[in-house]
Amino acid sequence: MNAAPAVLVEGLVKRFGTFTAVDDVSFSAQRGEVLGFLGPNGAGKSTIIRILCALLRPTAGRALVAGLDVTREPEAVRAHLGYMSQRFSLYDDLTAVENLRFFGGLYRVPDAVLAERIAWAVEMAGLTGRETELVGTLAGGWKQRLALGCAVLHQPPIVFLDEPTSGVDPVSRRQFWQLIHHMAESGVTVFVSTHYMDEAEYCHRLALMDRGRLVALGTPGELKRGSLRGALLRVECQPLGEALDALGRAPGVLEAAVFGDAFHVTVSAAEPALRDLPRWLTERGLQCGAIAEIPPSLEDVFVARVGGGRA
């Protein structure tokens, strides 16, 4: 097995005029890894992905994809990639197999293996028996798996997915992610760019971007354990409006947000808050119900790591 990383990025910088979209970013991804990119709009995620796809030239630093330098060998780099966008770029008025054949031509899949690859994709997408149906008439889950089939028909070692399961029903979404993990097990490296934390949970490691910089990199568990400066509490307190104001001023509270009919409260330390907060709230005429420490979600991590310095 090849131990060289599938993707290696060192000191990557991209400027557009005076704006630095990517600011000295370094990371690597191993073969078979599912790596997620998170960050607000404009954080630099798409710029990095465009550089890795050899569609943009970096201003400084270097990026190697499958051992190939994106600046020196853009054509070869692109031959090693598959890309599936959020709005799957399928032709609705072509059949499933016609779409596959079209992408096979685009990606220059040799004739000798095309039939075999199309058969593989049809089976992977669960489209056996529906090969000749127009894509426009297929439900979302099938379309999405077919789009994946088109993107990987040429067996690229590296695949980029942009919010691949946005809006797809949960059953199909789970099937999709199991397919992705199956591909990863066979050695394919998968990049996922998303705003959605439930997609992020499926990634082996997450790269959190903010204003062009890589602000965190780790497994979902590592990020959850290491990101909060204090602890997260779930607090039931009524009435909600007054309780929110009060919690914002309470000693030891770093942040308070309404969550359904309760609050998620970040405190500097769990013990004193669990002990003192109920009395503090009651003394202000509020009704405090259950209060407990809860594990932070990836969204909490995101807000804690990226939120600083913003309105």
């Binding site: 607000p40 709009n41 029903d169 059953v171 979404r173 199991q178 439930d198 499926y202 568990g221 913003r310």
Partner: protein
């Protein structure tokens, strides 16, 4: 205003497009000051329902009362009492943030003084007060959505209808957005919002889970989750596929998923199964960092109820 009844009451609401029934006998009520979610994947019927409630699309059957107004008989009347923010809210990209707000304020007949105070409050709440002179076309996706909400709220509606307001919006802007919604319901506005993101649904007071035009469940998120059959167990491991293969044959396991950190499964009896999981992994020489019960998600519930029928299909 005397208003003892629900803000929204939907009964047998149905809409057909040719051969498909987009909304099929939908029934639910929303109380005044409630934050209610219409939740489901694309094609579940969320947008069609919103359009019917906003009086911009006539249903084929059933009834809908919104802010005391029968939308079937009086689709025009409802428009003065609600605010409706469709997925693509009509912002003028070549007008500034302020100019867009002024346009909607004029449209809704909002007085200048009231409008200035309200605009300032909404823009401050969404962290946009610095961008009042920026062209709407130059705002990020999240800021556009927040501007849309500001425009939709420049008058004081009894009921606010929001169709997928946070699609494509990053988590920080999403939090701002929800903060504003909670403030509104605090003031007594009824909010009906839709989302395809099941994790976001947990922020609603109550939600209706939709699938293919039909209502699966309608209740508070905590009660829905408490009613889910089985217990979710997370196994944290770097050998996810081996662990999955090992546990696949275990009795009492109803769902096995590989996630980033390991494997997630649903078991019938956590007390008995967790020791069994440890024993099986130990016997197979597999290492798990943690084996722990985790709270179920709305997605778990959706998958458990839609189940096998959908699993075979799309």
């Amino acid at each position: 205003m005397p208003d003892a009844g629900p803000s929204v009451a939907v009964e047998g609401l149905t809409k057909r497009f040719a051969a498909t029934t987009a909304v099929d006998g939908l029934a639910f009520t929303v109380a005044p000051g409630e934050l209610f979610g219409l939740v489901g994947p694309d094609g579940a019927g969320k947008t069609t329902t919103m359009r019917m409630l906003a009086g911009v699309m006539a249903p084929d059957g059933g009834s809908a009362l919104v802010a005391g107004c029968d939308v079937v008989r009086d689709p025009e009347g409802v428009k003065h009492r609600i605010s409706y923010m469709p997925q693509r809210f009509g912002l003028y990209e070549d007008l500034t943030v302020d100019e867009n707000i002024r346009f909607y304020a004029d449209l809704f007949g909002v007085r200048r003084r009231e409008r200035e105070a309200r605009a300032m409050r909404l823009l401050t709440a969404s962290g946009m007060e610095r961008f009042r002179d920026r062209l709407a076309g130059q705002l990020s996706g999240g800021m556009k959505q927040k501007l849309g909400l500001t425009c939709a709220l420049i008058h004081t509606p009894q009921v606010l209808l929001l169709d997928e307001p946070t699609t494509g919006v990053d988590p920080i802007s999403r939090r701002d957005f929800w903060r504003i919604l909670y403030e509104l319901v605090g003031e007594g506005v009824t909010v009906l919002t839709s989302t395809a993101y099941l994790d976001e649904a947990e922020r609603c007071h109550r939600l209706a889970l939709l699938h293919e035009g039909r209502l699966l469940f309608c209740d508070a998120p905590a009660r829905l989750k408490a009613g889910m059959p089985g217990t979710v167990v997370a196994v944290t491991t770097t050998a996810a596929s081996a662990v999955r293969d090992e546990l696949r044959a275990m009795p009492g396991v109803s769902s096995l998923l590989i996630v980033g950190d390991g494997v997630r499964l649903v078991v019938d009896d956590a007390g008995a199964r967790i020791p069994e999981i440890h024993a099986r992994l130990r016997a197979a020489g597999l290492v798990a960092t943690y084996v722990a019960v985790v709270p179920p998600t709305i997605e778990d519930l959706f998958v458990a109820s839609v189940g096998r029928a959908a699993e075979r299909g799309a």
